[in-house]
Amino acid sequence: MSDHDELLSILQAHGQKFLSSFDGGISTSRRKGNVQSSIEEIEEEEEEDEEWQGIQTNSISESDEDLDENDDDFTAASSSTSDANVIVFSDKTAAPNQKWDATTKLQGKAFMSSKISKMRENTLPHTKNPTLEETEEDLKERSNIQNDALLHKLVHTQLLSGSLNPELELTPAQRRKALSGRIVELAGDAKLGRGERLVRTAEHNKASKRVREGLVQKQKERKAARLEETKNLGNYHPTLKRLLDPDLETAKPKKRVRGLQMGVGSFKDGTLRLSRREIDSVQGHKGGTSGRGSGRGGWKKRPRK
């Protein structure tokens, strides 16, 4: 029973110390005296604490000292019970080694796919590589498209309407018009290959009425002759209309807007897309009383998209 009492008193002392640490160290010397530290370890610890505190007395306040003391005591009291068997229950299904990232998903998709050639994960899984790395086919395809674009540019800039090319034997007037046409194309006012035509039509407009009308008439005749020629040769198809008549090339059929154009929002892809303003306009403004004055101008019509 005396052991039991001793332990109880130690426990009580410990509790008091802990509580007193919050008081801000009223009378530390008294508390030190009250501690019934019959266990030598605690005494030793205290002595050590005192020594330790001695070194640090300059920097820390008394409350900190008390805290440190209490902390040290606490660890000393529990050091004897540290060799209990520790059993850890961990949930293996959490699988810490399974980082659900793109690689795992890709591997999963490859494994579950019905194609056997894809199933064999012989190649290392790419994380972002399918988007960044270019396969050979991609490179080939891109170079093909690039080549097409380059060809188009060359044809319309150097190969056919090269104003500086001496082999073409252009007269000075033709050369001037070709050059100005190229400049218009570079400036962006005309599409590739159409610059010279633009320049020439601009010049035609400057001519007198009779000249102008004669030119127009001749152009019409020539167009009709060309059309007949293609039809006679058997090369004609209604889809080639735009090719044969250069005026029709620019006219692009605009998409007919469907619906009555009344109501809010736009309906795309099976969903009605509303902006915040549209919702507010139907529901009424939140800051109603303050904003009503400004909104008194009437029902504002928003431009239709």
Binding site: K92, Q98, T104, S114, K115, I116, M119
Partner: protein, 364 residues
């Protein structure tokens, strides 16, 4: 074809592989004494169904069945291939019918596109999952890979069935020689767990209990939960777990377990896991269920020595090797892989390929 070249066998056992060998070698085969002492003598419905399927796949095959059904004579034609649909009976799963077709399909005239309907997962045969993940990759070892697919459209558990699988196989001119003697170490374990028409938690429970054993061994384990719902889940409830292990040299080992009434999913998973571990412990580069397929492809390879390291042959494999000797005249040389290690039962099987060329194939 000389009349004397008809090969005669008896008993219903090893039925499928004898038919396959006959069709490929072109030698007619006569099988007698099929269950002659049984209460229900003669061919069973699935065997008759298999004969019908073989008739569909090939062109010019003549099958004669005796009155009592205890004897058949098969005069093989050429393997035609092409798109086919076949309904399998509910007594055996789709795997029973797919295995002989897998052996024949690469040598067809046109690429095989076979749709089979019936039970997809069963106790007796390989399930569709295992065929897709283990059997067909073995064909890749022989150079058959481009266009090889097995799509599981619907799952069907016994007894109701209702599953559908589609098998696509390209044709090859000749099969490559195999030289597979390094088993390597297991680097990865994958599994497919599925549950149809039952609580989907069964699938998760199986995965958890399988993991409880497998996690001790290697970190790279992933068990997929394959979900099929509604129409695609077949007519009967059931669940199964299929496991496969892949080694560093791409050797595959597999095992599976299907649901039984009254047995908890955890026990099913443990059964599958223990079966996988025992397969791995047997060693070799090819597991027991695929020994026949690999040996078969080795025989049909180019005229060169093919080598493969496997565990001890099963009785089925032993009979298969005997039948290969009858049909193709090729015999295997089986030697222990490591004479110094007495406890390892690995054997190296080597043979001289017959140089079989697919003469049927459409060249256009």
């Amino acid at each position: 074809m000389a009349v004397g070249s008809v090969l005669e066998y008896s008993s219903h056992k090893y039925f499928r592989h004898r038919l396959v060998l006959s069709i490929l070698s072109g030698k007619p085969v006569k099988i007698t004494g099929i269950r002659s002492e049984d209460k229900n003598p003669g061919l069973r419905d699935f065997e008759v169904n298999l004969l019908r399927l073989l008739e569909k796949v090939t062109n010019g095959t003549v099958i004669e069945i005796s009155v009592t059904g205890t004897a058949i004579l098969l005069k093989p034609g050429i393997i035609a291939g092409g798109p086919l649909i076949h309904d399998c009976p509910l007594s055996r799963s789709v795997g029973y019918f797919l295995e002989p077709i897998i052996m024949l399909a690469p040598f067809a005239k046109r690429p095989v596109q076979l749709t089979l309907r019936g039970i997809t997962t069963d106790d007796n045969d390989l399930s569709a999952d295992l065929i897709r993940t283990v059997t067909l990759p073995h064909l890749q070892l022989f150079g058959i890979s481009d266009g090889l697919e097995l799509r599981i459209k619907k799952r069907g558990a016994p007894p109701g069935g209702g599953g559908e699988v589609q098998f696509l196989c390209p044709i090859v001119k000749q099969v490559k020689t195999l030289n597979f003697v390094e088993p390597g170490k297991i680097k990865r374990i994958r599994g497919i767990s599925h549950a149809v028409r039952v609580n989907p938690q069964f699938s998760n429970r199986m995965i958890e209990s399988a993991r409880s054993i497998l996690n001790r061994y290697i970190p790279d384990i992933y068990l997929y939960s394959d979900v099929y719902k509604g129409e695609e889940s077949g007519k009967s409830p059931g669940y199964a777990l299929s496991l496969l292990a892949e080694s560093t040299t791409s050797a595959l080992f597999c095992s599976e377990a299907t649901s039984k009434p009254g047995v908890a999913p955890e026990d099913i998973a443990l059964q599958a896991t223990r079966a996988l571990l025992s397969e791995i412990s047997k060693g070799g580069c090819v597991d027991e269920k695929h020994q026949s397929l690999v040996l078969f492809m080795m025989v049909l390879g180019s005229e060169d020595v093919g080598r493969c390291r496997m565990s001890e042959p099963t009785p089925r494999t032993i009979q298969f090797l005997r039948d290969i000797r009858d049909f193709f005249g090729t015999s295997f040389k089986i030697t222990p892989s490591d004479p110094t290690k007495l406890e390892s039962s690995d054997l190296v099987y080597s043979c001289y390929g017959t140089g079989y060329v697919n003469a049927n194939r459409e060249l256009a």
